[in-house]
């Protein structure tokens, strides 16, 4: 906690119950929608009769896939437009927003009932008579790509819609042919559910006179939501107003629209009423796009001195039944960027396959391919250390990209901007007391416990986006106030607080005069930006704030020169005022703003811009764990993070991002697992009764240390922080758990390390030892 932290501007409304999340909006004359969803994994819809639903008291209308098709609504293609292996292009299955002839996963939307109350709409859904002819289903990606598997689409034979290749195969083969040792490892990064605490919901209304839609929904960026809704419906984005005052968590899965939203827009227009849909947690779990679901395989070639010669990555993602916008991207080009991790590896070759199954589609989920890449690399490095007898810290130090080598061009299309990996690791092992660990392990052993320590050193791409640049709008008001508009779409990151601080500091003003509005549909419409995805907001929106403030100062220089009747070259700007150098003659920026705003002109108003760019945050994390072999319970005793997120703007907010990120990683490590029954395709973890969520105390303490190396790629020198914690947590915690288990004869474990799984694997090891 920073000493000066007194809370965020956002906090007051949120701690007093005055926040406004999607379902908190109350609009006049609302109707309520409930969706009929597929209760099975794969089936043909033989027939569907909606007349019994229309007969239910209170039901106003029922919308089906035919209605949506007639209205021209169609799911837009994914963001992957680049060629894959051998020049192939991605095969995108068409997804009707309401299923028409076939359902392909449990939870898929089939019809929408609109009624005067939510209960009546639910009764209507239950009255719909639907006749399915079940088809064989496949939910496991290895099963799906095997010969003889049930096929989801005749036009996508073998259920593989894309193969992506990067690096240099011949060079990598040659490197492996020279290797003194090759380490091979296969791992599972299991399917997880993002589960923002706010269930997914949406309200739509239509203004016939203006021909404008109002859509209320949680989003990670108004521009992305508008653009996405436009792509679904063909309605121009300027005719769609998106309202998102408070957003109850995003984590990647709430960046763009879902198929329910355009159907609600259609209903709002056809019925001339506001239509509200409040999702349940079970709907959120079954129909919000999922995360991870990746089978990872890696090979690492080492020479006789423990230097890495080459790396191979084989990555198969279970994309689900359809493609989300981001799902294919974050499983191909994105993780390829860090396929050598923090190491100098002269040869890299990767092949990533995207398989289709009867499961919910996959999208970006906190880390979005980064944790998975860091996980396979860092577990391989530990494995290689074990196999070659080189100390695992020493092996890393021998292979780190040295800090003198930046900017570092990787074997793939990435330039790491800056970093100091060795310093990160060195500090983390000191803070963790690594050198005395064996004493602690021995002491734990006396108590019958298995103690382990592990590290993960990682790097990840942050930034970039869907547009060539990000813009913010700075408006000077007539009462001396400044309104800053952004399209960043925050969901807890504190943009209202920290962006105001950036502008205030640049202008030399108190931040109280600045109000940040992050996604105001009534604000100016003449700017564009990508939202809060890819750990990018401070890099892009934050930098655009700084650039905009500096540009406003420059514009004010001419006005001040006119007012003070001097040449602008004679002026200097400091502490919110223009002063004639060496005199006490000055004019305040806000007085200029008042003066010119009062005349109806606002020449100080500025669009601040930041061009698309990347930076690469990195970190070294160390965890120490203790396992009770009688119960399989793993306790996290300490978690140390030494992170390079570039320059730090607000330390408390940064820590908050790291804490949350680390716990989301810990959730996947210790329990989160979205499970489908392999035989029937039924979703087995459809509520919080079955889906594990991390709770208080899972990681009781986190110690964070900063090692900022400012990024040269943006004026703030920042690198992004939203996903680093998750990226570090997967390899760090699993390496610690494996370190604890190895003395008991366990050589391999996949996530999640649940007590049952840990206990069973220890029993297996004990029996194997006895048999020998």
């Amino acid at each position: 906690m920073s000493a000066g932290f007194k809370g965020r501007r956002e906090d007051r409304r949120l701690i007093t119950g005055k926040g406004c999340f999607t379902t908190d909006w109350k609009l006049p004359g609302e109707l309520h929608a409930v969706f009929l969803r597929a209760d099975r994994a794969h089936a043909e819809i033989r027939s569907m009769d909606i007349t019994p639903a229309l007969a239910v008291a209170g039901v106003v209308a029922v919308f089906t896939g035919e209605d949506a098709e007639r209205a021209g609504i169609k799911t837009p293609p994914s963001f992957v437009t680049f060629p894959g292996k051998g020049g192939q292009m991605i095969k995108t299955p068409a997804r009707p927003v309401l299923a028409t002839r076939r359902v392909r996963f449990v939870g898929e939307n089939v019809a929408m009932v609109v009624a005067t109350s939510a209960l009546a709409a639910q009764d209507g859904v239950e009255a719909i008579a639907i006749d399915y002819a079940d088809l064989p289903s496949v939910v496991d990606v290895d099963d799906a790509v095997a010969a003889g598997a049930p096929q989801l689409y005749p036009e996508i034979p073998g259920n593989v819609c894309f193969e992506y290749e990067y690096g240099d195969e011949a060079r990598t083969d040659e490197a492996f042919s020279r290797a003194a040792h090759v380490t091979k490892l296969s791992l599972d990064s299991q399917r997880v559910v993002g589960n923002p605490m706010e269930p997914r919901s949406c309200i739509a209304s239509y203004d016939r006179e203006k021909d404008v839609y109002d859509v209320y929904s949680s989003t990670q960026g108004m521009g992305m939501m508008r653009g996405g809704l436009s792509a679904f419906t063909g309605i121009p984005p300027q005719k769609i107003r998106v309202h998102a005052l408070d957003v109850g968590g995003g984590f990647g899965i709430r960046s763009g629209p879902y198929p329910e939203y355009p159907v609600l827009m259609l209903a709002a227009k056809q019925l001339g009423k506001t239509v509200r849909w409040t999702g349940t947690r079970s709907e959120t779990i079954s129909s919000d796009y999922h995360g991870r679901a990746i089978r990872l395989a890696g090979e690492l070639a080492l020479d006789g001195d423990g230097k890495f010669l080459g790396i191979r990555i084989r990555w198969t993602c279970n994309q689900g039944a359809y493609l989300s916008g981001a799902g294919p991207l974050i499983n191909t080009a994105n993780p390829a960027l860090t396929s050598c991790g923090t190491y100098s590896i002269p040869a890299v070759h990767g092949v990533h396959r995207l398989g289709l199954t009867n499961t919910t589609p996959i999208t970006a989920y906190r880390g979005a391919g980064r944790p998975d890449m860091a996980y396979i690399i860092e577990r391989m490095v530990d494995q290689a250390a074990l196999e070659t007898g080189v100390d695992r810290l020493e092996l890393r130090r021998r292979n780190f990209i040295p800090k003198e080598a930046f900017p570092f061009q990787t074997q793939v299309d990435a330039v790491y901007d800056s970093g100091d990996f060795r310093a990160l690791l060195d500090e983390s092992v000191v803070q963790a007391g690594w050198k005395d660990f064996e004493t602690r392990r021995a002491e734990a052993k006396k108590r019958g416990k298995l103690r382990g320590i592990g590290c993960g050193v990682f790097i990840e791409p942050a930034g970039s986006g869907l547009l060539p640049k990000d813009q913010v709008s700075i408006k000077f008001g007539s009462s001396g106030e400044i309104k800053v508009y952004s399209l960043s779409g925050p969901s807890g990151q504190g943009h209202e607080t920290v962006f105001a601080d950036i502008v205030a500091e640049a202008l030399g003003l108190a931040s109280e005069v600045i109000e940040v509005r992050a996604g105001d549909p009534d604000g100016p419409q003449d700017f564009a930006a990508t939202g809060t995805i890819g750990s990018r907001s401070m890099m892009h929106h934050g930098s655009a704030m700084l650039n905009g403030a500096n540009e406003a100062i420059r514009k004010g220089m001419d006005l001040a020169a006119r007012d003070l009747e001097v040449a602008s070259a004679d002026l200097e700007y400091k502490n919110g005022e223009y002063r004639v150098k060496g005199t006490d003659r000055a004019v305040k920026l806000l007085d200029l703003a008042r003066k010119y705003a009062a005349k109806g002109a606002t020449p100080l108003d500025t669009i601040g811009e930041m061009a698309m760019h990347r930076a690469f945050p990195s970190g070294a994390h160390v965890a120490e764990v203790e396992i009770d072999p009688d119960t399989g319970v793993v306790d996290v005793l300490s978690y140390i993070g030494v992170d390079d997120c570039g320059r730090i703007i607000n330390h408390t907010l940064l820590e908050g991002q790291m804490h949350g990120g680390i716990l989301q990683g810990a959730g996947q490590v210790f329990g989160e697992h979205c499970v489908y029954d392999r035989a029937t395709g039924q979703l087995m973890t459809g509520s919080f009764m079955d889906y594990y969520m991390p709770r208080a105390g899972l990681v009781p303490t986190i110690e964070l240390y900063d090692h900022p190396v400012p990024s040269p790629n943006n004026p703030l020198g920042v690198k992004g922080a939203g996903e680093a914690g998750t990226t570090g947590a997967l390899p760090t915690l699993m390496n610690a758990i494996l370190d604890a288990l190895r003395p008991a004869g366990v050589g391999h474990l996949d996530m999640p390390a649940t007590p049952s799984r840990v206990w069973n694997i220890l029993q297996d090891a004990r029996q194997a030892a006895r048999a020998n």
Binding site: G17, F21, P196, M197, E198, G248, R281, L698
Partner: protein, 154 residues
Amino acid sequence: MAKVELTVNGQKVSKDVEDRTLLANFLRDELGLTGTHIGCDTSQCGCCTVHVNGRAVKSCTMLVVQASGSEVVTIEGLAPKDGLHPVQKAFSECHALQCGFCTPGMIMAVAGMLKDNPKPNDEQIIHGLEGNLCRCTGYINIVKAVKQASGQAV
């Protein structure tokens, strides 16, 4: 239909409701007290926690008819007008909230916990938070906020 009479945030309320109406929906839909959030369908997340006769209760797990005759306090009524309860203050000062969706339920649960145990230790705090889920903070700063609100060193 059933008639319910209860006191909510010090105000007497009398309404006819469908028998199956949950306290959470009654507070949100009938009284407009949207600070009480509904985050799951199964009483796991605790976003809907309010006080009924001084005890923290998940309002999605109680029919409003069961609360008839009770004193109910929601997040909107926890502190005197324009003031803040020590738990609210501590959550803000310790950065124990990010998106804020779980926060009202979290604060009501913690305020309830501190009535039973004014100086909980770490283990007791973690146990006391078991019924409330947060996806943003990793709970680290929430535990700090509980300590600060109970006057213990953070």
